[in-house]
C-alpha cells in the first residue's frame, strides 16, 4: 500500500472530475511569489498553508495556517520550510484556496475482498468520527460500477435531501471512478463541503492510498510515495530499499530505536513470528528485517552490515524456516561476509549470534556459519531439528 501526499492525491481526484480547491505545492517562498504573479486566485482568495509532508497532527504542530492573505501565506511558507519535526524536515508547503462553507460531509471508497465499498455520511470532520454509525455503505463486487440509482439511494440513506441527493450521488460516483481507474486501495475525503459561491461539492482534504504494484500501468504517477511510518526513512533504511529495488527476491530493513535484539530472519512469514517471539519473551526489537525469494549474496551482505551497525545490540537472530528455493549457502555467504566486515570494523563486540535455518544446501550453509566460531564470533547454530523460534528463547534467557 502506497500513501500519496495531499497534492498529488488531489491531482488524481481533479483528473476524475472531482472539484478540489485551487492549490499549489511549493518548495520555497520564491516559488510561491512567482506563482502569485501567474495565478490570480492566490492574490484574491483567502488561503490555507500546510506542511506537505507525511506528518500526523500538523495542526497541533503549527504546520497548518488558515485564513491567510497572500502576504501571510508567504510568511507561513517561509516559517514552515526547513522545520524539523522528529526525523522529517519540511521541504514542501501546499497553499490552497480557502473554501467558505457551512456544512461538512464525508465520502470514502475502500477496497474489500469482494470488490469495494463506497462510504457516505452527511456529517464530516471530527463529527463523523464520533458518529460512525451515520456512515452508510454501498458494497460493490469487483468489476461492478455503481448505478446512478444505487448512488442516489445511498445518498438518501445517509440523510441527504433535496438537490444534495443528486450532488452527493454524483460526487460518490466520481470518487468511485477515481478509485477504480487509479488502482487505489483507499480514498477518503473528509470533509466534503458545499462551496458557497456556486453550491458545488468540493473535496477539502484527501487521503489517498494507491496500489504500488499497479505503478507499471500508470505512467502519470510521477510523484513519490510518502513514508509509511510517519517518519522519514533513515540513511541505512534508504540504502537497503535501493538495493531491494535492484534485485530478484527482496531485502527489507526498518530500524526501531532503543532495542537490543537485532533481527536478521528469512522470509516475510517467519520474520514476524521471530519478532513475536522476541516481544513475547520481553525482549526489545532493534529492527525489523527480512530477506526472501533467493536474493543475491551481496544484497544480504548489505543488509547484514546495516544490522551489525545498529547501536546497543546484544543479540542477532539469524532465523528462518525451511526454505523452498532460497539457497542457504549463498545467502549465508552474504551474511558471513557482512559479519566479517563488521568485526573488522570493530563492531559486534559482546554480541551473541543465534542461527536456525533449513532449506536447499542447509548442511553446507550451517557448517559455514558454525566455522565462524573459529574466527572468534560468539555464534550458536541450530538446524531444522530445533523448533523455529527456540533460538529467541535461548538468546533472551542467556542474558
Amino acid at each position: 500500500m502506497a500513501k500519496v501526499l495531499e497534492g498529488p492525491g488531489m491531482g488524481l481526484m481533479k483528473k476524475w472530475g472531482i472539484n478540489v480547491p485551487n492549490y499549489v505545492v511549493v518548495t520555497s517562498v520564491d516559488e510561491l511569489t512567482k506563482l502569485g504573479q501567474a495565478n490570480e486566485w492566490l492574490k484574491k482568495s483567502k488561503l490555507v498553508a500546510k506542511a506537505h509532508e507525511a506528518l500526523g497532527s500538523r495542526f497541533k504542530l503549527g504546520l497548518v495556517k488558515v485564513d491567510l492573505d497572500f502576504k501571510a501565506a508567504e510568511a507561513a511558507t517561509k516559517e514552515m520550510i526547513g522545520r524539523q519535526v522528529g526525523s522529517i524536515t519540511v521541504t514542501q508547503v501546499i497553499v490552497s484556496e480557502m473554501i467558505p462553507h457551512k456544512e461538512e460531509y464525508y465520502c470514502a471508497v475502500k477496497s474489500t475482498r469482494e470488490g469495494s465499498e463506497i462510504l457516505v455520511a452527511n456529517c464530516g470532520g471530527i463529527e463523523v468520527e464520533s458518529n460512525w454509525e451515520r456512515v452508510k455503505r454501498l458494497e460493490l463486487a469487483i468489476g461492478q460500477a455503481p448505478s446512478a440509482d444505487a448512488l442516489e439511494k445511498l445518498s438518501k440513506e445517509a440523510g441527504f435531501t433535496g438537490p444534495l441527493i443528486k450532488k452527493m450521488a454524483e460526487f460518490a460516483g466520481k470518487m468511485f471512478a477515481c478509485f477504480d481507474s487509479e488502482d487505489a486501495q483507499y480514498l477518503e475525503v473528509n470533509p466534503v463541503v458545499t462551496r458557497a459561491s456556486d453550491g458545488e461539492l468540493v473535496a477539502l482534504d484527501a487521503v489517498t492510498l494507491l496500489d504500488g504494484d499497479a505503478k507499471f500501468r500508470h505512467p502519470d504517477w510521477n510523484f513519490a510515495f510518502a513514508a509509511e511510518f510517519g517518519r522519514a526513512y533513515s540513511k541505512d533504511e534508504t540504502e537497503v530499499m535501493s538495493v531491494d529495488s535492484k534485485i530478484k527476491g527482496s531485502v527489507k530493513f526498518i530500524e526501531i530505536p532503543g532495542g537490543d535484539t537485532a533481527m536478521l530472519p528469512a522470509g516475510g512469514g517467519a520474520s514476524v513470528y521471530y519478532s513475536d517471539a522476541v516481544v513475547a519473551r520481553g525482549g526489545k526489537l532493534a529492527n525489523y528485517a527480512e530477506y526472501s525469494g533467493d536474493p543475491p549474496d551481496w544484497a544480504v551482505e548489505v543488509l547484514t552490515e546495516k544490522i551489525c551497525s545498529l547501536p546497543g545490540i546484544k543479540n542477532i537472530i539469524v532465523g528462518g524456516a525451511i526454505a523452498n528455493f532460497t539457497d542457504v549457502v549463498k545467502t549465508f555467504g552474504g551474511i558471513i561476509n557482512g559479519f566479517r566486515k563488521a568485526k573488522s570494523e570493530g563492531k559486534l563486540k559482546g554480541v551473541k549470534i543465534w542461527v536456525r535455518r533449513g532449506g536447499p544446501r542447509e548442511k553446507e550453509g550451517l557448517d559455514a556459519m558454525r566455522a565462524l566460531k573459529d574466527e572468534g564470533f560468539d555464534i550458536t547454530v541450530f538446524d531444522r531439528h530445533t523448533p523455529l523460534t527456540d533460538i529467541v528463547d535461548m538468546a533472551l534467557q542467556a542474558k
Binding site: 500500500m1 475502500k110 477496497s111 475482498r113 469482494e114 470488490g115 463486487a141 469487483i142 468489476g143 477504480d180 488502482d183 486501495q185 483507499y186 496500489d211 504494484d213 499497479a214 507499471f216 500501468r217 509509511e228 511510518f229 510517519g230 526498518i254 526501531i256 528469512a266 522470509g267 516475510g268 512469514g269 517467519a270 520474520s271 514476524v272 513470528y273 519478532s275 513475536d276 517471539a277 522476541v278 516481544v279 513475547a280 526489537l285 525489523y288 527480512e290 526472501s292 525469494g293 528462518g320 524456516a321 525451511i322 526454505a323 523452498n324 528455493f325 532460497t326 533449513g358 532449506g359 536447499p360 544446501r361 531444522r384 523448533p387 523455529l388 523460534t389 527456540d390 528463547d393
Partner: protein, 606 residues
C-alpha cells in the same frame, strides 16, 4: 486422498525461466513417488515451437512449449491445471487465458506483485466458472505421495525428510512460502505428515481463502486435521473461525497467528507480507484473530514453538480413537542421482579431466593469470606486455623487458593497406563481411612469406647461438638443410634503403647494455648476406625474433607477437572501411595476366 492436486493432475506452466525451474523441482517429486512427469506443456510465446529439457532421474524429458493455452490443451487434453509464472504486468491476462480454457480447473499463480484489482478480478472470474484460482504470490500446492505444483517442499532432501512421498493426515494452509515447508516438516516429525499443503500467497486478497480450502479438507476423508498459519491484517482468519464455529466439523482445526509484536511497536509500523499491512480502523490484529479462532473451538498454541507438541497431541488422540493408523514407511526410496559436481565433492566418483591448463583460472571472483589476480596486476602498475609474459611464458617479465615488448608491438601494429594481411581484411570488409571474419581473413595470410617467419627466424638464430656456430657454418647449414634464412631479406628495403623499424629496435635494445647473443649473431649474418645481395638485410621479423629470444621468450611463442600486434592494424582497417562504407572490390581486367588457353569448343562427353 488429497485436495486440489492428485495423481490425475496434469499441468501446463505459463512462463519462462522461473517456470522451468519449478518444473525441475516437480520432476524431482515425480521421480521420488515414481510417477511420470506431470508437467505436460509450457506456454511461453517467445519459445513457442521449442521444448524445455527437464531432468528426470538421470535422464531428460522434453516438454514442448506452446504459444497459447488452447494449443497446449489441444495437444495434451489431460491438462487440468495451470501454474502461472508470468510477470506481474501480464499475469492477469495469462491467468484469464487459463481460467477460460475448458480443460483447466485449477489455476495457481506464483507471480508476486500482482495489482490487487487484478487478483480480485481473477478470483471472481474463477468463482463464477466454478474453478479454483489460487494465489497470487503462492509458493505452490503439494499433495503428499501424489502431486507437487510449484517449488513448495523445497529441495529433494527435504521432500524425503518431510515424508512427502506418502500420505499423512494433516492438511496445511499458509500464506507464507517458507512457513509452509516448516509446517509440513513439523507435521512429519510430530505426526504422520500431510495430505495436502497449500500456499495461498501473502497478498491482501488471496484468490481463494482459508474457508474454501477448509471446506475441501472437510470433504476429504483422509484429512483429519488442518493447520493454518495466519497473519495480522484482513479478516481471513476471522472468517475461518466463523466457518469452524458455525457447526460441528469433522476436521480438527489448529492455528497460529503472527503479529503480536505489533502491540508493542511504534504506531504505524507494520511488517511482513502485503496482506499483513492491510486493515483499516483497527480490525485484523493478531489478538482478535487468535481469540476468534479459540472461541470457535480451534486449537491455538500460544507460540509457534508450541505448535509441534500440539500437533503431536492431536495425532495421539487420532491414533487412540482409531481414526488414523501408524503409517507404513516404504522399504526403500529412490535416490536422486547426484550431479557430477556433488558426487566429486563427496569423493564418490573420479573424473579424468578433458583438458589441462597451466595458465589461467576464472573460477573465483576474477580471472587469475598464472595465479595473479588481474585487478592486482593493474593496481600494481603492470601492463599488457606483462600479461603476455604470464599467459605465453608463465613468468612476470621485468619492466625493461616489458618496454621492449611494447616497442615491438608498436612497431609491428600495422604496415599499410597493401601487405597481404591488411589487403585481405580490406577485401573482406568491402564485401560486407563482419569484423571477426574479416580480421581472420587477414590472419590467414600470416605464414612463411608474410609475418610468419618470426618463429622460424628465432629458432634458427637460437640454434646457431646454442651450437656456437660461426656465420659461415650457419649459412652452410641453412643452405644444406632448410633453404633461405628466415628473417633475412626484404621485398623493397635494402642496405641503402634500410628499414627504419629495424634500426629503431636495434638501437634501443643496444642502448640498454644487455646481453643480446641472438641479435648480435643475426646482425653478423646480415653483414655477410647483404654483402652478397643488397636486399638480404635483417628484416623486422628477424630482428623481433632475435630480440625476443634474447629476453627469454620461447621460440614457439614468437609468431604470436606479430599476430597480436598486427591484429591491431587489421581491426583498424576493418573499422576504417566500415566508417567510409568502402565499395565492393573487384579486380580490373588489366590487373590480370590472362594466360589461360583461348576459347575452344567443348568435346562431347564420353
Amino acid at each position: 486422498m488429497s485436495i486440489l492436486a492428485n495423481k490425475d493432475t496434469y499441468v501446463v506452466i505459463q512462463g519462462g525461466v522461473a517456470g522451468v525451474n519449478a518444473a525441475r523441482r516437480m520432476a524431482e517429486f515425480c521421480y521420488l513417488i515414481k510417477r511420470s512427469l506431470n508437467v505436460l506443456a509450457f506456454v511461453y510465446p517467445p519459445d513457442a515451437g521449442k521444448s524445455n529439457e527437464i531432468p528426470y532421474g538421470s535422464g531428460l524429458v522434453a516438454v514442448p512449449v506452446y504459444k497459447t493455452i488452447a494449443e497446449a490443451t489441444k495437444n495434451h487434453p489431460q491438462i487440468n491445471t495451470s501454474l502461472v509464472y508470468i510477470g506481474a504486468d501480464r499475469a492477469m491476462k495469462g491467468g484469464m487465458e487459463a481460467l477460460d480454457d475448458s480443460h483447466i480447473k485449477v489455476v495457481s499463480m506464483i507471480t508476486e506483485g500482482v495489482p490487487e484489482k487484478d487478483a480480485k478480478i481473477l478470483g471472481a472470474h474463477a468463482r463464477k466458472l466454478g474453478k479454483v484460482f489460487n494465489g497470487p504470490s503462492s509458493i505452490g500446492i503439494v499433495s503428499a505421495g501424489s502431486c507437487r505444483l510449484g517449488v513448495i517442499g523445497g529441495a529433494f532432501d527435504n521432500l524425503v525428510l518431510s515424508k512427502l512421498y506418502r500420505e499423512g493426515s494433516f492438511g496445511v494452509i499458509t500464506k507464507s512460502g517458507g512457513l509452509s515447508n516448516e509446517i509440513i516438516w513439523i507435521c512429519s516429525q510430530f505426526a504422520d505428515g500431510i495430505t495436502t499443503a497449500i500456499g495461498i500467497g501473502g497478498d491482501a486478497y488471496p484468490g481463494t481463502d482459508y474457508v474454501s480450502y477448509l471446506e475441501m479438507f472437510e470433504n476429504d476423508p483422509q484429512t483429519k486435521a488442518v493447520v493454518i498459519v495466519g497473519e495480522m491484517g484482513g479478516d481471513l482468519e476471522e472468517r475461518a473461525a466463523e466457518w469452524y464455529g458455525a457447526k460441528k466439523r469433522r476436521i480438527k482445526l489448529m492455528a497460529v497467528v503472527s503479529g503480536f509484536c505489533q502491540e508493542s511497536l511504534p504506531k504505524g509500523m507494520k511488517f511482513g507480507h502485503a496482506g499483513a499491512k492491510e486493515g483499516m480502523k483497527g480490525e485484523g490484529s493478531a489478538r482478535s484473530k487468535s481469540d476468534a479462532l479459540k472461541k470457535a473451538g480451534a486449537i491455538v498454541p500460544a507460540t509457534f514453538g508450541a505448535l509441534g507438541p500440539a500437533i503431536k497431541e492431536t495425532y495421539q488422540e487420532l491414533l487412540k480413537s482409531g481414526q488414523v493408523k501408524e503409517p507404513v514407511e516404504p522399504a526403500s526410496l529412490p535416490k536422486l542421482p547426484k550431479s557430477i559436481e556433488a558426487a566429486m565433492k563427496a569423493d564418490e566418483v573420479m573424473v579424468t579431466p578433458l583438458i589441462r591448463t597451466t595458465i589461467s583460472d576464472d573460477r573465483g571472483e576474477e580471472p587469475c593469470y598464472d595465479g595473479y589476480p588481474a585487478s592486482e596486476l593493474i593496481n600494481k602498475g603492470y601492463e599488457i606486455p606483462h600479461v603476455v609474459g604470464l599467459l605465453w611464458d608463465k613468468r612476470l617479465i621485468s619492466k625493461q623487458d616489458a618496454e621492449i615488448v611494447k616497442r615491438i608491438m608498436m612497431l609491428s601494429a600495422d604496415h599499410g593497406p597493401c601487405v597481404s594481411g591488411a589487403y585481405a581484411t580490406i577485401l573482406a570488409a568491402c564485401a560486407g563481411i563482419g569484423l571477426s571474419q574479416s580480421v581472420a581473413a587477414g590472419m590467414i595470410m600470416i605464414g612463411p612469406r608474410f609475418g610468419g617467419a618470426v618463429t622460424d627466424a628465432g629458432r634458427f638464430f637460437k640454434y646457431a647461438v646454442d651450437n656456437k656456430m660461426s656465420v659461415d657454418e650457419f649459412l652452410t647449414y641453412m643452405k644444406k638443410n632448410h633453404g633461405p634464412v628466415p628473417g633475412i631479406g626484404h621485398r623493397v628495403k635494402s642496405l641503402r634503403n634500410p628499414d627504419k623499424r629495424v634500426k629503431e629496435l636495434v638501437g634501443y635494445v643496444k642502448s640498454l647494455n644487455i646481453k643480446t647473443p641472438c641479435l648480435d649473431f643475426a646482425l653478423a649474418v646480415e653483414q655477410v648476406t647483404a654483402a652478397k645481395k643488397d636486399n638480404l638485410i635483417l628484416n623486422v621479423d628477424g630482428t623481433m625474433a632475435a630480440v625476443l629470444v634474447d629476453i627469454g621468450f620461447p621460440v614457439d611463442s614468437l609468431n604470436g607477437f606479430f599476430i597480436l600486434s598486427r591484429t591491431i592494424g587489421l581491426i583498424g582497417h576493418w573499422v576504417d572501411q566500415k566508417r567510409q562504407d568502402g565499395r565492393l572490390i573487384r579486380l580490373f581486367d588489366y590487373l590480370v595476366n590472362y594466360a589461360a588457353p583461348k576459347r575452344r569448343e567443348v568435346p562431347p562427353l564420353k
